[in-house]
């Protein structure tokens, strides 16, 4: 059974399902809007699925929209919307601002 990829978990033990509902966070709505806006040119649904499936297990296990965020960044780097270095620099800048504001 070593050929099963990490995401391909149909039939595997998965624990109980949490049926509770919750309101989406603003950033979760934003990332959904971004996905829809970039659509077929930069973030086709099949491409996003592929990017999600290609995540390392530790990233695949992130909550739903965090997982989307990591996969979308990987896809956009691949497509040349920005480089990994540009992304890392921007994230460092955001982190610094958050720390300064704290």
């Amino acid at each position: 059974m070593t050929d099963r990829r990490y995401h391909d978990m149909g039939g595997e033990p998965a624990g109980p399902v949490d049926p509770s509902t919750h309101e989406a966070e603003p950033w979760q709505k934003l990332i959904t809007a971004l996905r829809n806006a970039l659509g077929d040119d930069y973030c086709r649904v099949d491409e996003l699925r592929r990017a999600l499936e290609d995540l390392r297990p530790e990233d695949y296990d992130l909550p739903y929209f965090e997982r989307w965020a990591v996969a979308m960044v990987n896809l956009f780097c691949e497509k040349g919307l920005f480089s990994r270095a540009e992304w890392d620099a921007k994230m460092a800048e955001v982190r610094r601002k958050v720390q300064e504001a704290a």
Partner: protein, 94 residues
């Protein structure tokens, strides 16, 4: 383009594990079922996933499997079935 299979044909899902984005889940590979309907022709998502146009379109079938065929320890009613849509290039005559 004529369909390789018709409704009622017994088919087996290929037991293969190619890398990349594949639309056939692991649990169904190698299992046999019956063609329930021909769902139509669709751009190949296994190509769309890498930015290609998905042409030529692939025929998609809805295949009906017995749950007891899929899960060795299935303890529900013996007549339970599972319907799954599988592309023609994943199927072989059983």
């Amino acid at each position: 383009m004529t369909a390789m299979f018709k409704v009622g044909d017994k088919v087996t899902v290929k037991r293969t594990h190619p890398p990349g984005h594949r639309r056939t889940p692991f649990y169904i590979r190698g299992k046999a079922g019956i063609v329930e309907r021909i769902a139509g022709n669709f751009a190949n998502p296994e190509e769309l996933a890498y930015g290609f146009d998905g042409e030529p379109r692939r025929r998609l079938y809805r295949v009906r499997f017995m749950q007891t065929e899929i899960w060795p320890r299935y303890d529900g009613p013996a007549q339970d079935t599972l319907d799954l849509e599988v592309f023609e290039h994943w199927l072989e005559p059983a």
